[in-house]
Symmetry: C2
Subunit: 150 residues, 2 copies
């Protein structure tokens, strides 16, 4: 189900390093999560106190400049980060967002994102949906012949 590392897209490889680092911080991550129709975030992570972080992984200048949707992700998290490799031109990235340096194996938070707390109702709905999506994917991974569509 999961492609070997060299066959994965650059953004997916960054996401792997990011999720490993987030795990060290006590955050459980879900990749390619759809918070609302038309939006898909690379990594969403849920912290021990219910904190929601979103991380967009950008592999190149072109990858960043083609992204017209990222501002729409801000309202779906408490903190928003970019994750890039060491050779990415960091001055492209807005200063009032978080910055993570990542590779295939790990990552480091270079600039903590400012906190803009979710409204309680949205946090509740988002946490519930995160829970259901994660469990459905796990069930699909473990029992591939059952239909995941709930």
């Amino acid at each position: 189900m999961i492609a070997p590392l060299p066959q994965r897209a650059p953004g997916q490889r960054l996401a792997r390093g990011v999720t490993r680092h987030l795990l060290e911080r006590g955050f459980a991550s879900l990749c390619e999560y759809v918070p609302a129709r038309g939006l898909r975030v690379d990594v969403i992570a849920l912290g021990p106190k219910g904190e929601v972080w979103v991380v967009e992984c950008k592999s190149s200048r072109a990858d960043f400049t083609a992204d017209r949707k990222w501002q729409g992700y801000l309202e779906w998290c408490d903190r928003y980060f970019w994750a890039v490799a060491a050779d990415f031109p960091q001055d492209l990235l807005p200063e009032d967002t978080g910055l993570i340096l990542a590779d295939d194996y790990g990552a480091e938070v270079i600039r903590m994102a400012p906190e803009t707390p979710l409204a309680p109702s949205r946090r509740k709905a988002l946490t519930r949906d995160f829970a259901r999506q994660a469990a459905l994917r796990l069930q699909h991974a473990q029992d591939g012949s059952c239909q995941v569509g709930a």
Copy 2:
């Protein structure tokens, strides 16, 4: 990671049928979930509106009578069910609990469990923990070399 069907314990085979049926009802399931120290439920499931169901799978009379903890599970769900195979002696089971008939491939709710809604604070904490556990297990399944211990 997942044993072939014939090698799984009878309770795990019932759980497979149960989780498939719950999926048809729109519930995302997690098996062998620990809601609190010393408690482990066979199946916990989260419905589209945030409903929490717990299902204990019993493969035999002995399996049922050895269970000294099930009443402790009631306070961790909105509805509580037993899941058994067709040849299980159903008159053993308390009448004020739900009843599901299950096999390896599916299940059916024979008696709906009464509803005893969770307090909002417990539902919130339980949903968050469900979310984190499901995502951590998924991450472990997909990226086995990372440490899951958050």
